[in-house]
Every structure is written in structure tokens, then in C-alpha cells.
Amino acid sequence: MTSSLEERLFALELPLPKGLVLRAAAAATQPARRASGVAVVRPVAIGALSLGAFVGINAVAGHVWPAYGRLLADVPGARIVPGWLDPRTGLVPQTATPLNASATSAGHEVRLIGGSADGVRTLLFVEIDGKSYSDVNDPPRFSVGAATITDRNGNVYKQLPYGHNFIPAFEPLRGAAADGGPLTLHITELLPAEPGDPVRGDWTMRFTLVAEPLLDVRVPAAIVTSGTTYEVVSVRASREVLDLHWRATGEAVAQFTALIADPPAMTLDPTTETPGGAGGGPVLGRPITVTPEFQAYSDRIHAFMREHFEVSLVAPSGETLHPFSGGSGAPKDGAVEGDATLLLRGPGRYFVRFGTVAEMSIDIP
């Protein structure tokens, strides 16, 4: 059966969805998005625009990092390494500490050039083979793969999911390690930027960092709206980042539970025909779409989650901030729980929003 199975897999008709190429090209013309764990917003299709036009615009929009470098050049105290400001990690460069340690293994030198630690996370900055990721004209050939930090008490600080490969993020330091106790960065794998095998080795570097303490932030009171209780269970905040765990119970959870209880089959509709044509991108063979019933079901779920469980933060300036890491799970024991990690914009009164239905204030000193 294997040979026929392989033939069937090769023959699977999976035509390119209409407009997908255009959407990708359109997105590539925009400044790079930050990594988002909750709301991955896709640009809408722009059917009338030609691919050629996109490509022309891309030549202008593709150089984001030098712009950051120039931005940092004007920031006092940011001379450590221009380009450290990364929208994915939210580093405020003034809080970074220069470090200088290096290790060579498997023919590659890894240099630890800086770090930033607080009660929420620990960020490290590395160069590999003398190259910094911020140099778009001569980028590094490798990036950090597997790595951990350990302290002298045997505590291991694992990587967090949202770090950049040249700015790996780790769990927050604890105890004496947070007060400048000796730390060891242990990298065991470098990932090639080009096709090839990961390079395994032992890059061990010792350093110290003093972690900024957590801010004293009071957990906001739970609020009840339309029969649903929204509660921030725990909150941690540094000058840069707010990390919260939340929980919802009541009517919205009951509705959500009912909504997902009876899903239609996630089958594909073999009968749908989508015409090709100008501006729609290539359409090969029959299109692949889920049944209208499942699509509608999926849309209802996402709309409901956006309305009731999608967390955002409104800064004192009125700016709406979205989590760069986090998410929520399915209802369990009558509750929906989730996490959200968001960048802060300095001290002041913020508002944590749950979808469009609930809002509570939280003061950042």
C-alpha cells in the first residue's frame, strides 16, 4: 500500500487559495510585525493591486532595522549596541547592561555582549562570529538554538517562548542570582541561517546581572458584567513588561462551552469552484475549502473569543497595546483561563480589557 499511498499524497489536489500570494506580498510591504501570541492579524486581501506594485514598494519598506539603529543613536544611553531595540522583546535600551564574555566551540565564537533582567524575564544579547543581527547588510550565519542559564545554587532558567534568536529570553532570576550572583549561560546548539545541520557544541560563559525588582502592582478587583466574572488572578510587572494571568467564569464561559460543544465535521468541500482571474492569483485545479458549516462555526468561535476573552491593554496615552505572548485555553471546570504578556509605556493608569465587554484599571507605579 505504501507505494500507492505515496502516489496519492503526491496527487493530492491542494490548490493555492485565491488571493493568498497577494496578501503575502502586501504584508511584506509593511514594517515587520512583532511576534504575537494571541492575535495574529492578517492583512485583508487587496485584490486590485498588482504583485509588481507590491514588489516595488517592498524595496522601500524592507529596511526596518537600520531605521531602528538610527532611532537608537538618538537615545541617551543606548550606545551599547545600536539595534537592540526589538519590537518582539520590547527592550528599553537604557535598562541593558553591557557584558563581555565569549566562548568558542565547534569553530564558532559566541560573544555575550549585554543583558537585561527584571522580575518578569531575563534577556541576553549575543553576537556570533563577530556579527550582530542588527546588521542587515552582513547578518550572522548562525543564531542561538538551545540554551539555558544556571546559577550557583543549581537553579536552571529555561528559555521563554518569545525570545529572538539573538536575544534569547529566559525565566526571571531568583534569589541571590537576581542580586548579582554568578550566572552561567550554556549554549549547546547554534542554528544555521541557511540550510544545513545545527551546530552542536559547548559555549559556556559566566556573567552577572542585577535584576530590577518587580514593581508593586496591586491586583485589580474582579468585575462582573452580564453575568460573567473577569478576574486577574496574578500580575507581575517590571518597568517594561506586564505579565498577567486571568480567569473568567459565568455566563460567557457557559455560552462559549455551548458554542464549541457541537462542532460540524471539519471536512473539505470537494464541490466548491472558485474562478481564477486577474488579481486573484493562480488557481490550480479545484480549491480546498472547509464546508460552509465548519467555516461558519470557526468564525463564530473566533468572534466570540475576540468579544469576550481577547486581552488588550490601554496605556495612559490611550494607545491600545496587544500581548506579544500568551493566549487562552478551552473552558475547563467552568472557567476560561489565560495569560498575557504586554509591553508597558511607562508609569500610569492602564486599563486591562477583555474583548469588548469588560475593562478594569491597573496602576503601574
Binding site: M1, L12, L14, L20, A27, S36, E194, P270, V290
Partner: protein, 192 residues
């Protein structure tokens, strides 16, 4: 006719350019030549069609953004592109882990009566086969999607996943065996 990209990279002709690699790669050529295969990969490696579209779009977006990093002297477009695509898939897996958990829960709660009726003589319908692929583990899906969606040979599959071609071949055979068992268990295949 596609407009020539203004950010095309002129690669001087010299020894060492990989065979078959274009000297100039434009975003238009990238999309024309590879988008369909990238989507086939995404459709197989994702757990659902919406996620597949998201992944394919993200992978193409990344490739267009990084088109200047393509260097024909250092390898083929395939080798350059599929590393980007696989990384996009890996990132999507991390970012949406919680959503996968939700989807997995939904799939577990699905009524068995909704399953598609097996085709006559045990033949496998495209939709059945795709669903079976999507039920596999992440690594098996990646192997199958690269081989049969991306149409890559073992060496290229291995390069994209950071393993040797031989290891990729072995892993792929095991993934196919698991797919076959799954199909047999759901009445879509015949034991040999």
C-alpha cells in the same frame, strides 16, 4: 506579465553558482514558482485549512522580506526557501500552541458519525487522506508535507529539518507507516 522587481539581486556569473539556481531572484518569480508548493506544504503540515492559509501566507511573506538574503552562489532557491518555510511552521507551532490545544479538544469531541464514508473498495478520498495526514504528529506532518507537498527529495527534506538525507528517508518511511496504520484503523486502507 509580471513587472520586474526593483529589488532583484544581480548575481555575477561565476563558478560555484548552484546548478539550476537563477542568477536573479525576484519576489514575483519566487511567488510564481513556489507559492503553490508552499501552500501544499502548509495544507499538509497544518491542522486545518485556515491555519494552512495563515502559515503559507506567513512563509511567503518571510521569504519576500528576506529575498535579498538569497545567494545563488551558496545554494538553490529550494534550499534557501524551505528553511524559511520550516521555520515559519515551527514558529506557528509555538505561537499557537494553545490554539492547537483547543482544536485538539474540538477534534476529540467531534461526533464519529460525522466521518466521511469510505470510498468504494477502500480507495482513499483526498479529503480523507488529508485529514489523516493532519492527525499525525507534528514531526510526521512536517516530513510528509515537505516530501509530498513541497516535492522535495530526501536530501532536501533533511536539509530543511536539520538532519541528513538518509535520516530523513528513514523518518519519512516511519511517518508513512504511521499514516498507513491510521488509515487502516479508520477503514480507509487495506492491509497488505
Amino acid at each position: 506579465m509580471m513587472q520586474q522587481a526593483s529589488n532583484a539581486i544581480e548575481v555575477p556569473e561565476r563558478l560555484g553558482v548552484a546548478e539550476g539556481a537563477p542568477a536573479v531572484l525576484t519576489a514575483a518569480e519566487l511567488c510564481d514558482g513556489y507559492a503553490a508548493r508552499v501552500y501544499r506544504f502548509a495544507a499538509m503540515v497544518s491542522r486545518g485549512s485556515a491555519e494552512a492559509e495563515d502559515l503559507a501566507q506567513d512563509a511567503l511573506e518571510r521569504a519576500i522580506r528576506r529575498i535579498e538574503s538569497f545567494d545563488a552562489r551558496r545554494g538553490s532557491v529550494d534550499a534557501w526557501l524551505w528553511r524559511i518555510v520550516v521555520n515559519a511552521a515551527a514558529d506557528a507551532g509555538r505561537v499557537r500552541k494553545r490554539r492547537w490545544l483547543l482544536l485538539a479538544k474540538l477534534e476529540r469531541t467531534r461526533d464519529p458519525g460525522d466521518e466521511i464514508t469510505p470510498r468504494i473498495d477502500g480507495a482513499i478520498g483526498d479529503d480523507d487522506l488529508l485529514e489523516a495526514v493532519r492527525r499525525l504528529g507534528q514531526r510526521d506532518r512536517a516530513l510528509i508535507a515537505l516530501r509530498f507537498g513541497g516535492d522535495l527529495d530526501y536530501a532536501a527534506v533533511g536539509a530543511a529539518l536539520g538532519m541528513t538525507g538518509a535520516a530523513a528517508g528513514v523518518a519519512l518511511r516511519r511517518a508513512l507507516a504511521r499514516l498507513r496504520r491510521d488509515l487502516e484503523s479508520t477503514g480507509h486502507g487495506r492491509k497488505t
